[in-house]
């Protein structure tokens, strides 16, 4: 079963990394919007 767990773990790791990248992108955008509102 180790190959199955490795494959499933890798699949979820890829999805989680992508979601983290999306969250960071959203935070950067929010900072950008705050800067726009301030100036």
């Amino acid at each position: 079963m180790k190959w199955v767990y490795a494959a499933y773990g890798a699949a979820w790791a890829i999805h989680i990394v992508y979601l983290v990248i999306l969250t960071r992108g959203y935070q950067r955008l929010r900072d950008d919007i705050d800067d726009l509102n301030r100036s």
């Binding site: 190959w3 199955v4 494959a7 890798a10 699949a11 890829i14 999306l22 919007i33």
Partner: protein, 232 residues
Amino acid sequence: MKSTFSILALITLALLSYGLYQAIIVAPREMTMGDAQRIFYYHVPSAWTAFLCFFANLVASIWYLASGDSKADAVALTTAEVGVVFCTVVLVTGPIWAKPIWGIWWTWDARLTSTLVLWLIYVSYLLLRRYSTAGQNPMLASVLAVFGAVDVAFVYMAIRWFRTQHPQPVIGGGQGSGIDPRMMHALLINWCGFLALAFLVIWLRYRLERLRQQVEEAHAMKAIAGAKGASR
């Protein structure tokens, strides 16, 4: 909107959990490949989901080429990105299956090579979108997306047209193909789960992209206003 998203997120979580249970506990052990065959329940649905994302990218790209609508451009970018994520899962889980079954991680057969080319085409698409500063950027990317869609068809047909080391199709593969109903159930439940996940992520990414377009527009308006103020 938030409650719809939460309901959909819960349905996705339920489908993926049930799919995992079906894949690991309920689906029978395959006789020749053993437990490693269970990788199939993540590998195949991820491939189908990636194909659907790339097909949606093709439709949105053609829509953009015909109308120049920025919404179409956002859909195209979003579906390509999520398609690449699912295609990456396919390219990672495939070799993890291949090692115990074939004894090698990778071979340059038609299915594997065309899938790698497909991934490279859409990664190029995303890099073009990300780093090119030319005004024609979305237009060029849309044309590249059309070429990518041709490769999707090639990847799908590769195991039907060529004698490949990759297993022959077990679904829609003609006479002699087919799998145990419990395996099919696990496969379809996981596909539903991954489709729901893809839909959720595309939804999130689309909203993010529309917001980014609005911020970019606001920056441009601010720069124009600044230039006008300076010239007075």
